[in-house]
Symmetry: C2
Subunit: 203 residues, 2 copies
């Protein structure tokens, strides 16, 4: 046999990477710890040393996914000059990520939604909304948007884009292109925030 070192050395990273590939190809259901061990040329018991059980592996995959997504969003938030353009860019970054990694996104959110998800996962997953809030507050102070609680408005934008992202990832936008739906959504939201929501309606 070729002299395989006993210690793999980077087993954890190798498992994580291969797991992400498998999930993207076959979904979470297509992920098997034993098959994963075979792929990485390691015995079927080895993964247990790095991930207590399958759920722990999936959690780690989800966390890595959120971190990658957050990087994209932060980059987008600093592109462009116009505030509205930056807002649209962030929306696109979010949705584009979803389209690029549809299965991963499903895992990310279903894991985050899991009753006993880690605090780290929850907070990392909630980071995107902070970016939106900052942008909205800035636009209000610049007089581009009407007054209104930035926290609430950011939440509205987030949930709306979240829906767009999930549906785009699932190819459920019927005939519409992802680009078109994202633009329409961000534009409608921006128009609503610019016009302002009559307070009387909030009763």
């Amino acid at each position: 046999m070729t002299d395989q070192p006993y210690h793999h050395g980077k087993l954890r990273e190798a498992l994580l990477g291969r797991a992400m590939e498998t999930i993207e190809e076959a979904g979470v259901d297509g992920l098997s710890l034993r098959q994963l061990a075979r792929d990485v040329k390691v015995s079927h018991g080895a993964p247990a040393k790095h991930f207590r059980d399958k759920q722990a592996l999936v959690d780690a995959v989800a966390l890595a996914g959120f971190e990658s997504m957050n990087r994209r969003i932060l980059d987008a938030a600093q592109s462009g000059e116009d505030l509205r353009e930056r807002f649209v860019s962030v929306g696109k970054a979010y949705v584009d990520f979803a389209v690029d990694h549809p299965a991963l996104l499903t895992v990310m959110y279903s894991t985050k939604h899991h009753p006993d998800s880690s605090e780290e996962l929850r907070s990392t997953g909630a980071q995107g909304i902070h970016v939106a809030r900052a942008m909205i507050a800035e636009a209000q102070q610049a007089g581009v948007l009407a007054a209104g609680d930035p926290e609430t408005l950011a939440m509205v934008c987030f949930v709306s884009l979240h829906g767009t992202a999930l549906l785009a990832a699932g190819g459920q936008l019927d005939g519409n292109s992802v680009e078109y739906v994202v633009t329409a959504t961000t534009d409608t939201l921006w128009a609503g925030m610019a016009a302002g929501v009559p307070a009387a309606q909030l009763n």
Copy 2:
């Protein structure tokens, strides 16, 4: 033994009902065909006569879920006088359903998103958006909303409320109440549609 009749008679319904309960309690992963058979006091091979495999059972659960949800949405669409109020009611009906059946909703959409989901499932799942489009078109003709493609606007409203629903179902709205987020979302969307989206932005 008690004289169990050989034929269960309503096995399919019993399996479906129990499966929905199990999913609501333990998620799809907690659903086992064999355990399901035990729960319904039937041999482990019996379910196969009604559902070719596990996926077929999950598909049936998803379909039943969509049908139940559509009923709620249609009811809401006919409540209230004011067009805006009816619009908000539909949004609330959708999100309320999600909150009442969080795990079921996850199954409904992940099943619908599945590459080889049935046409029946897809169309049943897309029914809600038709209701939204009709309401928007009506409001435009009444002069309450600005002009704009009703199809596109309905899509925007749908994706936005879909995100709200999923996050509400997952308890991911942070401190905000479901009622508050739904109201804020529908109001922002309505304000945007009433003000109209500058066509220049669509480039």
